[in-house]
């Protein structure tokens, strides 16, 4: 979903040209020979997934390995560009024309499929796959579970949200990175006095602001505050911890914690990252996926060892576990309930043998990503770049040690709730609504 959102925003905001070029590169869905796009259930095992490197090549290699080993039950693939996929898969599944293997982001979208009876309950089958089950980070299963049952198998990569900072800025004011929320509030006036913005933020993108609330909710009230909201518990947003988190958020904004003009900065143009690596801002809360761009665009910022990073610090007196993290715990594969038994079996075999096999894990690590398996750790020793090795170890530890890895709210919730949430977060950050108004507006759409 990270990729999707960024690709989408990139298209809208700054990457129209890139998107146009990408469209030329793969005009329309690309299918393996013999397959038809939108193959009806029963015409063989089908798998739809996204284009875009390095993910695309890794997925293609998985299918090739499977097809080479199982020549009688080959999987036919169809590849889509992100936006095309999102539009197509929903209508195709609704019309009973979806693929056997459904690639997705879990959370609210998966829940909608489950409620429409479109995806297979995999709980019993997966419990028998003990090796696979035990190899995956436990935190990745939350977004794949609906009403206590498993409807999707986690796969691919894990990208937590991380607190990045510029070591040079901290040297300038002679301070240490924050160990608590109180430290953050104390650092704000110090940085402002030196003409450095404490935090960079691409506020116009809205989900960037959301990452702050995700952490504050967790650190102050613990993981169950959002779980209650996700479960549709009445008035979940006006939990006292939630209100305190919203209040703390506005305190930081009022104290000029964010760079001037943050609400007109977008994340898709990477301007927020630029603020950090050019030294205009000291810290930035952002997804692990920004590392690559900061390394290529930030001159010696990463290679010179100026980039620091840490998990979000605890809030004094908060109930949350400071090892918790938020972000994208993985990508997910479901099996269509409309597929024939044979196709379902083939799909299950593919999931069990090829989605997180050794070759795949190797490929993910080589591409600079941490796959959702514990064994990724063993691969890290082979990375020669010192900065990359340190970074990947950090991402691995954050994901592996998280007691709770909460999925990004806008993906966890239904599209209706997510859109209302993003709208209200923008207003909260504008200080145009109070925490109580925010809670009231959000309570009104709980369960929708």
């Amino acid at each position: 979903m990270t990729t999707s959102r960024r690709t989408f925003l990139g298209f809208v905001g700054g990457g129209a040209l890139a998107a146009g070029l990408a469209a030329c590169g793969s005009s329309g869905p690309k299918s393996t020979p013999g397959s038809t796009a939108g193959a009806a259930a029963g015409s063989g095992t089908t798998y739809w997934f996204l284009t875009g490197q390095p993910q695309q090549a890794i997925r293609e290699a998985q299918v090739k390995r499977f097809n080479d080993a199982n020549s009688s039950t080959k999987i036919k693939t169809t590849e889509f560009q992100n936006d095309a996929f999102k539009a197509k898969i929903k209508t195709a599944i609704g019309a009973g024309q979806g693929p056997t293997l459904i690639w997705g982001w879990g959370g609210g979208g998966l829940k909608a499929y489950v409620e429409a009876g479109q995806v297979e309950d995999l709980t019993d089958w997966f419990n028998q796959q003990t090796d696979l089950k035990n190899s995956i980070f436990p935190s990745a299963f939350t977004a794949a579970t609906v009403n206590g049952k498993l409807y999707a198998v986690p796969g691919e990569t894990v990208t937590p949200i991380v607190l990045f900072y510029d070591k040079r800025s901290f040297e300038k004011i002679g301070a240490e990175p924050p160990q608590s929320w109180g430290d953050i509030m104390d650092l704000v006036p110090k940085f402002n006095a030196k003409g450095i913005a404490p935090f960079s933020l691409g506020g116009q993108s809205r989900w960037t602001n959301m990452m702050w609330l995700e952490f504050l909710f967790d650190r102050i009230g613990g993981s169950e505050v959002f779980q209650n909201i996700y479960d549709g518990k009445k008035d979940g947003w006006s939990d006292p911890s939630a209100l305190k988190a919203l209040d703390e958020m506005q305190k930081l904004i009022k104290a000029n914690g964010f760079i001037k003009g943050f609400s007109s900065i977008t994340a898709d143009s990477n301007a927020d990252q630029a603020l950090l690596y050019t030294g205009k801002a000291a810290m930035m809360l952002h997804g692990a996926w920004t590392y690559g761009n900061m390394k290529t665009a930030g001159k010696d910022f990463v290679t010179g060892g100026h980039l620091g990073y840490m998990n979000f610090p605890p809030v004094d007196g908060g109930k949350g576990d400071p090892t918790d993290t938020v972000g994208n715990p993985g990508q997910y594969m479901s099996i269509s309930s409309k597929a024939s038994q044979g196709d379902k079996d083939t799909a299950k075999k593919f999931i069990a043998n090829n989605t997180l096999d050794d070759a795949t894990v190797d490929a993910w690590v080589k591409s600079g990503n941490i796959p959702v398996v514990k064994s990724a750790k063993d691969k890290l020793a082979s990375i020669s770049d010192k900065n990359d090795a340190e970074w990947l170890n950090f991402v691995y530890d954050t994901a592996a040690n998280a007691k709770n890895f909460a999925q990004s709210w806008d993906q966890a919730l239904s599209p209706t709730q997510a859109e209302t949430l993003l709208d209200n977060i923008a207003k909260l950050f504008q200080l145009s609504i109070s925490p109580q108004q925010f809670a009231d507006n959000m309570n009104a759409v709980i369960g929708q």
């Binding site: 809208v12 905001g13 209508t91 116009q204 003009g261 609400s263 007109s264 859109e419 923008a426």
Partner: protein
């Protein structure tokens, strides 16, 4: 130069159009057949989707599952939603303000460009350039220029330009109006230029003999003679501003907060981001209704007489 501009609304206009499907078909047979291809296209791509949208506005549909009829529930909820009225307000605000900025400037520019000197043709081409750019490209460019940290103001160290242009409600609306005007003034200038060139020179000659200066000529001849041009241009501006979407979507995405969330954007967000096709269809229907009402009002304003177009009137 005794020819006057063709009247926008012919005196018999109403009878012609209402009779098109009836008795007049026989008399003007071949001509009526010629509209068939356009008519078919209009019905298939205009009328049918319009009916579809109206039908959808009475249903509940998330785009994934089955469609359920739910009567007037969407209309009730959308019409009682403060967000809708906020969007209507923003839409009208942008519509009226951008009209108020564009009309005088286009009128003056058009009058200026209607002169015959060679350099004016060159200037006309120069002025026309903004219209050739796509709204998305314009929005991306301006967004980069207005960036408070990496934009024009920060780059040139001009304090005044380093505002949080798109981050403050009033500034964001002002920026939208400015860019819309920048983009569309060329087009309306062109319309006015054409209108001014239709005014008989004899009127100006007579006015000069009577001792009227340039300013007096402008207000007593040019502006009254351009009455229908003004109405045409205003109709295009007003109805066009109901569909502003791409520019605002790319520039502010409706923000900050919902300061620039116009109706078209509201429709998109409800339909394709919240998966609420029913309420989005209600908004779409409202946009169509508003457009019709505004166009009819402006037509009324113009009246059906061509008296002021007559020489010497």
């Amino acid at each position: 130069m005794t020819v006057t501009a063709p009247p926008v609304v012919p005196a018999t206009g109403r009878n012609v159009s209402s009779g098109a499907g009836g008795s007049r078909v026989g008399r003007s047979g071949p001509v009526a057949w010629m509209v068939l291809p356009a008519l078919v296209l209009f019905v298939v791509f205009g009328v049918v989707p319009l009916i579809g949208v109206v039908v959808l506005s009475f249903t509940q549909w998330d785009g994934l599952g089955p469609i359920h009829a739910n009567g007037f529930a969407n209309w009730r909820s959308v019409l009682s939603d403060p967000q809708t009225w906020h969007s209507v307000l923003v839409t009208f605000e942008i519509m009226i303000l951008s009209w108020a900025v564009q009309t005088p400037m286009s009128l003056l520019l058009g009058t200026f460009l209607a002169g015959r000197q060679r350099y004016r043709a060159f200037l006309a081409v120069l002025y026309f350039i903004p219209l050739l750019l796509s709204s998305a490209a314009i929005a991306i460019t301006y967004k980069a220029l207005l960036d408070p940290n990496f934009g024009l103001g920060a780059g040139l160290h001009i304090g005044f330009l380093t505002q949080d242009w798109l981050g403050k409600s009033n500034l964001a609306i002002a920026v939208v109006i400015f860019i819309v005007s920048w983009q569309f003034i060329p087009f309306h200038s062109l319309i006015y230029q054409g209108g001014v060139r239709q005014i008989p020179t004899t009127m100006y000659e007579a006015a000069s003999i009577d001792g009227a200066g340039r300013i007096r000529q402008f207000f007593s001849i040019t502006v009254p003679q351009l009455k229908y041009t003004i109405i045409t241009s205003s109709t295009l501006m007003v109805v066009g501003s109901l569909t502003f979407f791409d520019l605002i979507f790319v520039l502010t995405a409706g923000g900050p907060g919902d300061a620039t969330r116009v109706l078209a954007l509201d429709m998109y967000k409800r339909g394709f981001m919240s998966n609420q096709m029913g309420p989005a269809s209600v908004i779409a229907s409202i946009i169509v209704l508003l457009g019709l009402v505004l166009a009819l009002l402006l037509r009324r304003l113009g009246g059906s007489t061509t008296a002021s177009q007559q020489e010497g009137a």
